[in-house]
Symmetry: C2
Subunit: 198 residues, 2 copies
């Protein structure tokens, strides 16, 4: 084996990226070394900064390098709509895909008693403080449609009821443009149960 | 859009990796930030070191952090067999896939007059010096089986003839138009065993 040292280390380190196996890592390492060293240096720099400086928003717990994230600090966004999601990635996805202009709350997980993840781990106390504040009129439960995600949505919905705040759940069903024969049976059953008058 | 700063920069920087688009870059960034900051820091460190410290071997021109690479410095490898390849990645791939125990010479490209790539750019003068040294009995032409790779092999074969050195070309199993880097190891081993005089 050649260049056992640094080159091998680089290939191994690239494998820490999700979806990157030894073959892709090898291709990435050679690509950077032979064709884009400036890109590699830039990535190294941004990576170090991001790992050290990006923390969690004081108000919504999403990833941010400032004490309060841009969305929470944005006075143009509606204060009476709060969307609850499982992860910071969901905030990013929803904000890119939808026209939602309210605020978010990030759980960083879902209720999972077997894994020792309860209300404390999900910041439910902080969420209750916000609901108690009185500004929020509707809470949108956008947790995943897994069993645990559903249970988490139900749990938070109950809390919202306690504060007399409307709780809604994002609609689940057949994706737009999706062909019925390729949809899994659980989704299809859900789509049938949730059918509406047209 | 949230967190316009560092998070967005990180996602953009990850796009410099081959095969990584905005969607994968997004997934990678969130994965590192939420689940593996130590891995991200380690990658940053190794990346910076690799970009700065990995250079080219004095003798064979492959990527290495030392003046002479491990293969060239290895006294157990045969000095009379020289395998000529287009890229340092090919050295890596051949050394993993085959039982070849000779030495290498890396062209870092192929003859391509339209792109201004001639013998000078490929280090042919250095290759001729090695052939003139007298130790080499056979040169294995393992350039890609593209038209330019074939032409490059032919060109170097002629030089070998001038020095009365046997020149062989890897053959069986490498698909026409295929790049070595992406060939499975079995095919590559077969191609080595089935090499022919050119
Ligand atoms: Zn926030
Ligand atoms: Zn070398």
């Amino acid at each position: 084996m050649q260049n056992a040292g640094l080159l091998k280390e680089l290939i191994q380190s690239l494998c820490c990226l999700p979806g990157v196996g030894p073959k892709s890592a090898q291709r990435m390492a050679f690509h950077l070394l032979q064709r884009n060293r400036d890109g590699g240096r830039q990535l190294s720099l941004v990576l170090a900064q991001a790992m050290d400086k990006i923390g969690y928003c004081r108000d919504c717990r999403t990833l941010t390098e400032t004490e309060v994230c841009e969305i929470c600090a944005n006075r143009l966004r509606e204060d009476d709509l709060l969307c609850v999601v499982e992860s910071a990635a969901d905030v990013w996805v929803i904000d890119q895909a939808t026209s939602f202009k309210g605020k978010y709350f990030v759980l960083h997980g879902r209720l999972s008693p077997l894994d020792g993840i309860g209300p404390d781990e999900l910041g439910i106390d902080k969420l209750e403080q916000r609901l108690a504040g009185g500004a929020i009129k509707e809470i949108i439960l956008a947790t995943n449609s897994t069993i645990e995600g559903q249970a988490t949505a139900h749990f938070i919905g109950e809390i919202a009821n306690k504060f007399n705040i409307r709780a809604t759940r994002i609609a689940h069903g057949v994706p737009m443009g999706g062909e019925l024969e390729f949809i899994d049976s659980g989704t299809l059953a859900h789509a049938f149960a949730g059918r509406r008058e047209v």
